[in-house]
Symmetry: C2
Subunit: 218 residues, 2 copies
DNA sequence: AATTTTATTTAGATTTATCTAACTTTATTA
DNA sequence: TAATAAAGTTAGATAAATCTAAATAAAATT
């Protein structure tokens, strides 16, 4: 069994290696986990000893199969809980992340099995992220960042790659929520911001925001 | 904020002082929490420093108002989760204790508020134990142990004072579940076991078991 | 009351996860 | 490529929760 802390490290490594598809650096982990690089190094040694990561001094880490399976299971629990909070307890999508961060560490495979069943074996969470099944499998639809849409191209918002409450609240405000259809008008060369048509209203959003919104083109 | 461990100590002290209405001894806590008396003493000093308990060396402890409020809140969370597991996720009453032991430590007042609302502000959990409300209030109906019923007296099973799976499974087996009406036939003087009428069938159960079944007389 | 038993506490050690400060390795750039 | 900057590691320390073994206090018994 992994400790609460070990689970968090594995989860963070998993998320960071998803973004770069390569190895994960010590400082990146320290940043995400809000700790010191020295603490990360200590933990890397421990996780390597437990065969959960491949660790080469000064070279960063990758997850082993075992480590990846553990991480995916935590992600599965996190996303099932988020969906439960929104669907059953009527939380808003920007309120669930922190609570799920705690719930994901509750260790009862049967509980998660039952929760999955209760929710109808869902395929995605309230932010559009895929929910791995019991065996860790999930399909990641081919997604494109909103910032990469071509002029006149249309797409549906299916996910976000940033889960902070302030970001999600902002999306609610400008009506850029999951399932919304958006048409690209143009990318402003000067600052990379984008002019969009959101439900027939023309809006400009920053490059920063547009790069965290994931679309499926239609 | 209290740590996971501190919360467990407070909960155990609360439950033990309920039984004796007096102070709680070091060894009793050590026993319940499966740790050494020396560890309990260490923790008692810490909890006393935080004003959660009144601690006098060699004399045992009592909860302060603050400590009691904290303990009651944990009990509230535990019982709400147990009810959720049974009502919504279709667990059996003997399967929920261990899972609730973990869930009770998730710290989100809003989550518990919503869960309470979702469950319809219930007054008792699947074992018949009262669920404290948001302010820590609950009514403890005047209960009598099954072992104390007088011959020919009838009562309804409303709770149990033992939550082990083996005990609850046994109750299921002999059809002595919550809500069942039972009539006392006689107490066998020799071993204190009781002859009962349970749904028109005459059964004998041990003093030990009968003393853990709580009744409301009818 | 003296002795024995039981309950509790103290002292000092251990484990886990963290830290700071100093040092080493790798990467960048002038 | 030598110097500088950035990234990562090591060594030694700290806090939380636990332990064992020894000491002390309270309770029970002769």
């Amino acid at each position: 069994m992994e400790s609460y802390t070990e689970e968090n490290y594995l989860k963070v490594i998993y998320h960071l290696s998803n973004l770069t598809t390569g190895t994960v650096q010590t400082n990146a982990i320290a940043d995400k986990i809000q700790t010191r690089p020295a603490s990360v190094t200590d933990m890397m040694k421990k996780l390597a000893e437990k065969q959960l990561i491949n660790y080469i001094k000064y070279q960063g880490v990758t997850l082993t199969e075992k480590g990846k399976a553990t991480a995916v299971n935590i992600v599965r629990k996190h996303r099932l809980w988020e969906l439960f909070l929104v669907k059953t307890l009527h939380f808003k999508w920007d309120e669930v992340h922190e609570i799920a961060e705690e719930l994901e560490h509750v260790n009862s495979p049967l509980l998660i099995e039952r929760l999955d069943e209760y929710l109808g074996y869902p395929k995605s969470d309230p932010h559009g992220d895929p929910i791995p099944d019991k065996n860790g499998n999930f399909d990641s639809p081919a997604l494109i960042k909103l910032s990469k849409l071509k002029p006149a191209e249309k797409g549906i918002v299916v996910g976000v790659s940033e889960h902070s409450s302030s970001f999600l609240k902002y999306l609610d405000k400008i009506k850029l929520t999951l399932g919304t259809t958006v048409e690209m008008i143009e990318v402003i060369e000067f600052d990379g911001s984008v002019d969009l048509l959101i439900e027939d209203i023309r809006k400009n959003i920053s490059r920063e925001v547009a790069s965290h919104i994931l679309m499926r083109t239609t």
